[in-house]
C-alpha cells in the first residue's frame, strides 16, 4: 500500500512557498485555518492573511476586491460553505468579472465522515462548474495538490480547487508535473475506461488491478481538471475502449459523470456507468464506512465496469 499523505498539508505548505516567491499572494480564511491548513501561511505572513471569521460571503467579496487591485488571493473554507454558502457572491463578485481569485475548498465529499450531512459537500462540483469562466480542479493526491496550487497561482482567472479531508495514498511520484486541462492516463487497457477524480483515483486503480485478474483490461484516466474537461482524452477513451465508468465522491448529477456524459454523447456515444452518490444525503460514520455504504469503493467500480462491458456487448 502506498504512503498516505494529506492534501491539505500539501496545500498549506505550498502556499507558504508561493508566499515567499510572490508578495502579491494573500490568504483569506473563514475561521477554519487550522483545518484548511492556511494556518501555515498565516504564521509566516500575518500581514497578508485575513481571517474573516465565520462569514464566507464577506470573505469572497474581500477576495474579489483584493484581486481587482492586483493581489492573488487564496480563499479557503470547507467545500460545503464555498460555493454553498456564498454562491451568489462567487457568481457576481468573482465569476462574472473573471477576477483572479483562487478558492481552495477542503473537506469535499462524504469522506469527511463523522460530522455528517451538514459537512458533506456533495453538490459543490455541480454548483461551481455551473459558473461560466471558472476552472475546477480536483487533485488525486498530495503531489498533485502541490503542483496544482502552483499552477493556479501562475494562471490568471477564477479557480476552484477541491481537496478532501482524509490522507490519500500517493498516486504520483515527485517527478509528476500537473498539466492544466489535461487528463492523465494512469493505466492503459482496451475493454473499458474508468475516469476518476480525487479520492476515487486510487480506488479506480485498485479496481482495474482486480479486474485484470478476471481477464478484463481497463484504462484508468485521472481528470484533475474537471472544467474545462479534456475533450480529446475523453473522446479517445470512448473510441479506444467503447465503454466508460466515472467515479467521484459527489452527487451523480452535475459533477464528473454529468460532464463526461455530455461530452461522450456529443463526440462518440458509448455505454456509461456512474459511480457516485445517488440522489440522497449521507449520514454520520467513519469515512471508509460511508464510502462503502454509499457505493464509492473499488468494489463498486468493478461492478460498474462489469455492467458497462455487458452493455457494450449487447
Amino acid at each position: 500500500m502506498p504512503e498516505k499523505v494529506s492534501l491539505r498539508e500539501a496545500y498549506g505548505k505550498t502556499l507558504v512557498e508561493l508566499g515567499k516567491e510572490n508578495p502579491d499572494i494573500v490568504m483569506l480564511d473563514a475561521d477554519l485555518s487550522r483545518s484548511t491548513m492556511t494556518q501555515y501561511f498565516a504564521r509566516e505572513f500575518p500581514g497578508r492573511s485575513f481571517d474573516c471569521g465565520i462569514a464566507e460571503q464577506n470573505m469572497v467579496g474581500i477576495a474579489a476586491g483584493l484581486a481587482a487591485s492586483g493581489k492573488i488571493p487564496f480563499a479557503s473554507t470547507f467545500a460545503v460553505f464555498a460555493p454553498g454558502r456564498c454562491f451568489d457572491q462567487i457568481r457576481m463578485s468573482i465569476a462574472q468579472p473573471r477576477l483572479n481569485v483562487k478558492i481552495v475548498a477542503t473537506h469535499g465529499g462524504i469522506s469527511v465522515g463523522e460530522d455528517g450531512t451538514s459537512h458533506h459537500s456533495i453538490e459543490d462540483l455541480s454548483l461551481i462548474s455551473s459558473l461560466p469562466g471558472f476552472t475546477v480542479i480536483v487533485p488525486a493526491d498530495a503531489i498533485e495538490t502541490a503542483q496544482a496550487i502552483r499552477v493556479v497561482a501562475a494562471n490568471h482567472g477564477p479557480f476552484y480547487i477541491r481537496l478532501c479531508r482524509p490522507k490519500l495514498p500517493l498516486v504520483y511520484d515527485e517527478d509528476y508535473r500537473f498539466n492544466l486541462g489535461k487528463a492523465v492516463t494512469l493505466r492503459q487497457g482496451k475493454d473499458a475506461t474508468i475516469i476518476a477524480i480525487g479520492i476515487m483515483v486510487s480506488a479506480a486503480l485498485e479496481a482495474a488491478e482486480s479486474l485484470n485478474q478476471e481477464g478484463m483490461d481497463c484504462s484508468v484516466l485521472n481528470m484533475p481538471t474537471l472544467k474545462p474537461a479534456d475533450e480529446a482524452a475523453i473522446t479517445k477513451a470512448a473510441v479506444d475502449t467503447g465503454a466508460i465508468v466515472t467515479a467521484e465522491d459527489h452527487l451523480e448529477h452535475g459533477g464528473l459523470g454529468s460532464i463526461i456524459a455530455q461530452l461522450v454523447t456529443r463526440h462518440h456515444p458509448v455505454p456509461m456507468e456512474f459511480v457516485a452518490i445517488k440522489d440522497t444525503y449521507a449520514k454520520s460514520g467513519k469515512s471508509a464506512e460511508l464510502l462503502q455504504r454509499y457505493g464509492l469503493t473499488a468494489k463498486d467500480i468493478e461492478q460498474a465496469v462489469r455492467a458497462v462491458v455487458r452493455k457494450k456487448g449487447a
Partner: protein, 300 residues
C-alpha cells in the same frame, strides 16, 4: 479647506446651461464652487431621465436620490483620470447599489470616460452600458454589481490592497438603505472595523424607500446610526442633497484614523422630479414619453 491633488486638468469652464442638449458633456472633473456642482447635478438628472426614458426600463428613483453624493465625489473629491481608468493610484468609487447604474454612467460620461452620446445606448443589446454595472465592459466602472449587499466587502478588499501596497488611494462605497437588509453588509461592516480600514468610506443613500415601500414598514433599519457605531464605524449624518454638508463630511472622513467612516446621507428618492419624489413606483419603472417631457421641463 484644502482639496486633494487632482489627476486631471483643473481648468475651469462654466457649466453649460440647463437648456443644453441632453446628451452633451461638460467634460471636466474638478470644480470648486457649489454653484457649478448644482449645475452638474441638474445635468446628471436630465441624463438619468432621458436615458431611462429612452431605454424604456431602469431605476430612476435611486439614481436621482444619489446625484449630489456622486457629483461631490467625482467633481470635487476623487483623484481620478478619465483618460486612464486603470490608473493604479486612483481613488475608487464602488457603486454597491448597482441599479443606480444610470447615475454612474451619466457621471462617467460627463467626466469624459466615454462619449456622452453613448448614454443613449443604455440597456440596448451590445451596449457598454448594461442594465446593472459591469466592470468588464464600461470604462471607469470598478465593480459588477446589481446583486445587492456585495459592494462593501469588495471595497474592503480594495482598501486592504491599498494598505498592503502603501498606496494613498481612498475607497468610497455607495450603499442603498434598503440594501442594508442584506446580512453581508453587516459581515462587511464588522470586518472593516476589525481590519481598521480607515481608507474606506461607506455612504448610505438613505432615501427611506425600497421596492415594497418605506424601510420602516418593509424591514426596519433603526436605530441605523447606532448600528454603525456599534459595529465600530465613525458615523456622520448629512443632508444628502446639500453639497456643503457632503463636502464637509467627506473631508472629515480623511481625518479619521484607525476605523472606517460611514456617511448616512438623508435623501429623497426620485429627487428633482415632482412625481417621482418619495414614490416607490419609480424605483424600477421608466417614465413614459410624456413623463420624460414633464421631468425635463422641471429640471430646466
Amino acid at each position: 479647506m484644502s482639496l486633494p491633488e487632482s489627476g486631471n486638468s483643473s481648468s475651469k469652464t462654466s457649466a453649460k446651461s440647463a437648456k443644453a442638449e441632453v446628451f452633451s458633456s461638460t467634460a471636466k472633473t474638478k470644480v470648486t464652487s457649489v454653484k457649478e456642482m448644482e449645475a452638474i447635478a441638474k445635468r446628471l438628472r436630465r441624463h438619468i431621465i432621458s436615458m431611462i426614458g429612452k431605454a424604456g426600463s431602469g431605476h430612476p428613483g435611486g439614481s436621482l436620490s444619489a446625484v449630489e453624493i456622486v457629483t461631490t465625489l467625482y467633481f470635487r473629491l476623487l483623484r481620478h483620470k478619465p483618460q486612464d481608468p486603470q490608473w493604479p493610484d486612483r481613488d475608487r468609487f464602488v457603486l454597491s447599489k448597482g441599479h443606480a447604474a444610470p447615475l454612474l454612467y451619466a457621471t462617467l460620461a460627463e467626466c469624459g470616460y466615454f462619449p456622452v452620446e453613448e448614454l443613449a445606448t443604455l440597456r440596448q443589446l451590445d451596449s457598454r452600458l448594461q442594465g446593472h454595472t459591469d466592470r468588464t465592459v464600461t470604462p471607469g466602472v470598478e465593480m459588477s454589481a446589481g446583486a445587492l449587499g456585495q459592494g462593501l466587502s469588495f471595497g474592503i478588499g480594495i482598501a486592504l490592497a491599498g494598505r498592503l501596497n502603501s498606496q494613498k488611494y481612498r475607497v468610497y462605497v455607495l450603499l442603498g438603505d434598503g440594501e442594508c437588509d442584506e446580512g453581508q453588509v453587516w459581515e462587511a461592516a464588522m470586518s472593516a472595523a476589525h481590519f481598521k480600514v480607515d481608507n474606506l468610506v461607506a455612504i448610505v443613500d438613505n432615501n427611506g424607500l425600497q421596492i415594497d415601500g418605506w424601510n420602516c414598514d418593509v424591514m426596519n433599519l433603526e436605530p441605523f446610526n447606532k448600528k454603525w457605531q456599534a459595529f465600530g464605524w465613525h458615523v456622520i449624518e448629512v443632508d444628502g442633497h446639500n453639497f456643503t454638508q457632503l463636502i464637509d463630511a467627506f473631508e472629515q472622513t480623511k481625518l479619521v484614523k484607525g476605523q472606517p467612516s460611514v456617511i448616512i446621507a438623508h435623501t429623497i428618492k426620485g429627487k428633482g422630479v415632482s412625481f417621482m419624489e418619495n414614490n416607490p413606483d419609480f424605483h424600477g419603472k421608466a417614465p413614459n414619453a410624456e413623463q420624460v417631457e414633464i421631468a425635463l421641463k422641471e429640471l430646466e
